[in-house]
């Protein structure tokens, strides 16, 4: 299972309006960044070199892991996608 190929295996209807907005400046000062390793869809990547968090919501599985593990309250917005958008499981 290659996480980079998540779009080959799991279906998404991506909304142009993000359902999660992350204030990445908060992440820079975070001592844990549990989101980066815990997110099952690898939506969060921390670059040690640039000291920068990158977040993409496209492949979000809407599990809520990031919301629960973030202890710095770095989300400007965290909600489920608008009705009809987001991940669409077929046979799970």
């Amino acid at each position: 299972m290659n996480i980079d190929e998540i779009f080959d295996n799991t279906s998404f209807t991506i909304d142009r309006e993000p359902h999660i907005i992350l204030d990445t400046t908060v992440c820079t000062g975070c001592d844990n960044r549990g989101c980066a390793n815990s997110c099952p869809a690898r939506c969060y990547s921390w670059s040690e070199e640039e000291q920068k968090m990158t977040f993409v919501y496209d492949g979000c599985l809407e599990c809520g892991t990031c919301y629960v593990v973030c202890h710095r309250n770095a989300f400007t917005r965290w909600r489920y996608p608008r009705g009809g958008f987001g991940v669409a499981y077929r046979m799970t």
Binding site: M1, I3, I6, N9, T10, T13, N32, G34, C35, N37, S38, P40, A41, R42, L61, E62, C63, G64, T65, Y67, V68, V69, H71, R79, Y80, P81, R82, G83, G84, G86, V87, A88, Y89, R90, M91, T92
Partner: protein, 432 residues
């Protein structure tokens, strides 16, 4: 545009659809609101659908008509390391005949079917609608608003069945403090396509028999476990991680899932299959101590939203608790309509019903189980201990054998420490 109903149910999962079905059968005008394009689109579980005795009362032919996969006739537990595994298995003809003890199901099929049963009973299913907030009027719940839409849905009472991360319960002030990583787990799953005959052959199954296996020692030291369930022509293979432990581990769910599927003994089980779908979902595994207030003024909380999940490590139950709690909530709302009173005073009858039911009795009885599952040695040292002990017992190499009690003692001292083992045994005894 506003619409009026006698009750609104948020979320068309097992809890929500069971609640809507109960209320619609009693003649109430019910809205069942679902954010997916169809019920079940967002739902994922490990998992086994266990006996659902309360829904059998409403739908006597439930097991004949529901879209099920295989019935679980065989259950196994495997203690493993990256090299070795020790497997125990239980099988009985009693689980191979009706009433069956549990089934594998596909949630997009099952949840859709159950919601349609609620619709047949008269409920209005509103899909593609993510609830944004509760609407209050004179300090009382008066309905819900939908994200991206003007207008609202009005009702004097709302049932929150919006799942593990229930923003509805949170917004109603019933979940305080907020969600806690130490009470949550995340499950990841690979759905693996495999011909039916290959599954039957490989797992020793005939007819519609299914196999369910749980694994310990396969999570790279992170608190958690693995599972493998057989569907008709696919396998559900996955891992569950305790979030408090995962977030400080530096390890990722997908790398650990790959390592799990590549472990030599597991690799043989999944060989020849093809990945069809990858999914993830949170599990409220905190048990009794995690349950929020389940009743407020004009609101009831059910299923995962109320953390009604029994994850003791032996059985993993959720849908049966969800459905039963939905039915109890539905009955309470029917009574509230008879009295035309939706205050906490009337609705608290739901809490009383829950407390009297097997749901709370089980959760209370196993309330120490989460504590046991926080023993980190379960996830590394003990599986290693079991595997290495068995290797010593089975190995014949021309050297004199140690007596088994002596060997056990030596290995326990070496791998775990005697004091730890005694204290862990005590915790486990109290938990189970």
């Amino acid at each position: 545009m506003s619409k009026n109903y006698q009750a609104i149910v948020i979320g068309a999962g097992p809890a929500g659809s069971s609640a809507a079905l109960t209320m619609a059968r009693a003649g109430l005008d019910v809205a069942l609101v679902e954010r997916g394009t169809f019920p079940g689109e967002k739902n994922m579980f490990g998992g086994i659908l266990h006996r659902m005795t309360s829904i059998e009362e409403i739908l006597p032919d439930f097991w004949e008509r529901a879209p099920l996969e295989r019935h679980i006739a065989k259950k196994g537990t495997t203690f493993m390391t990256d090299q070795a595994s020790f497997h125990v298995q239980h099988e009985t003809v009693n689980f191979d005949r009706a009433p069956y003890n549990g089934y594998t199901v596909f949630r997009p099929n099952f949840d859709r079917w159950l919601a349609e049963e609620a619709v047949k009973a008269g409920a209005t299913l509103i899909t593609r609608s993510t609830v944004d907030d509760l609407v209050l009027k004179d300090g009382r719940i008066a309905g819900v608003s939908i994200q991206g839409r003007s207008g609202q849905l009005n009702a004097p009472v709302v049932i929150a069945a919006d799942g593990v991360l229930s923003f509805t319960a949170q917004k109603a002030g019933l979940r305080r403090p907020t969600f806690n990583a130490d009470q949550m787990a995340v499950g990841v799953k690979a759905l693996i396509d495999m011909p039916r005959e290959m599954i039957d052959e490989r797992f020793g199954l005939v007819r519609d028999q299914g196999f369910a296996n749980e694994f310990v020692g396969c999570t790279g030291g992170v608190r958690g476990g693995g599972f493998l369930y057989t569907n008709y022509d696919s396998l559900s293979v996955g891992l569950v991680f305790h979030l408090g432990s995962l977030r400080i581990s530096g390890k990722t769910p997908y790398d650990l899932l790959n390592e799990f599927m590549e472990q030599p003994q597991v690799a043989k089980l999944v060989r020849g299959g093809r990945l069809q779908e990858y999914s993830a979902h949170l599990i409220p595994e905190g048990g009794y101590n995690m349950i929020p207030e389940v009743v407020g003024n004009g609101i009831l909380v059910t299923g995962d939203a109320a953390a009604l999940c029994n994850a003791t490590g032996v059985n993993l139950e959720g849908i049966n608790l969800a459905s039963h709690s939905g039915i109890l909530a539905g009955r309470t709302v029917v009574e509230a309509h008879e009295r035309n009173d939706f205050s906490t005073k009337t609705l608290k009858r739901y809490k009383e019903r829950l407390d009297l039911s097997w749901i709370m009795q089980d959760l209370k009885g196993f309330k120490n189980a989460p504590k046991m599952l926080h023993i980190n040695r379960i996830y590394n040292e003990y599986p290693d201990l079991v595997c290495s002990m068995m290797e010593h017992i089975y190995r014949i190499d021309g050297t004199p054998k140690m007596s088994i009690p002596k060997l056990v003692l030596r290995e326990v001292k070496k791998k775990v420490g005697l004091k730890n083992a005694i204290s862990d045994a005590f915790t486990a005894w109290r938990a189970l």
